[in-house]
């Protein structure tokens, strides 16, 4: 997991499995970025090959926190199965799931 700045977003690049083991690390990273004053975040989940309800819960938590600070959260979710989990949770209605980082940064 690493982060960089792009446009006026802080981009967190996440890889591996976002489950009960992997999701807490993402939560710590998100809380760390927010504590640094980054309230406009992109979570790039391109390298995530598995997500479960714990991972989805961390993403919901991230959205809640940045919204409280008038920030924004964008998601890059190109992988079909990961995208499907968001859709099954009906979360594609509150998140736009972008195919690429470029699209997420441009908001399209």
């Amino acid at each position: 997991m690493h982060s960089h700045q792009a446009a006026d977003f802080s981009v967190l690049t996440v890889a591996g499995e976002l489950d009960v083991v992997g999701a807490p690390e993402l939560r710590q990273q998100v809380l760390g970025r927010i504590a640094q004053g980054d309230h406009r975040l992109v979570l790039d989940l391109s390298g995530v090959d598995y997500i479960d309800s714990f991972g989805v819960g961390v993403v919901i938590g991230a959205l809640k926190r940045v919204r409280l600070l008038d920030g924004e959260l964008r998601l890059v979710v190109p992988e079909r199965q990961v995208r499907r989990v968001f859709e099954l949770c009906d979360l594609d209605r509150i998140f736009k799931l972008h195919e690429t980082l470029e699209q997420a940064l441009e908001g399209r």
Binding site: V21, Y50, D52, S53, V56, I60, V85, C89, L91
Partner: protein
Amino acid sequence: MTERPLPMTFSVEIPARADYVSFVRVVVAAAALDWSGFPADRVEDLKLAVSEATTNAINAHHRVGRTDGIHLRCTASADGIEVTVSDRGSGFHPADRQTLPDPEDPARLMHESGLGLDLIEALTDEFELTSDREGTDVRMVVYSDQRRRS
């Protein structure tokens, strides 16, 4: 791929530790991939559903301080693959299952957990939760191609 006579049943017991959940996913996926009658596009569904149930079971043991293992029983039959995940936690009343607000309701963001059972229900063809003070059994079935067509 070896064609074994059906039904094919096996059981595993795992330590009630989060780092064993990925092992369960591998085992269940291997069982599904090993059987040619199982629809390839449902392997990920079965993996995720069983993984959610196993995570819940591990958490149930942690809540009551149990150190014994979680039991999984898997049966492949002509109907599909059935997996039951059993814990010896303090039980769960199905009526206590929370109803999540609509996704567009701002209150929805207050629910970072509790999605697991909804996901299992969405991913499986049969889902049954049996629970009392002695523990919880979660039974899940994903149908075979043959059963889906019938």
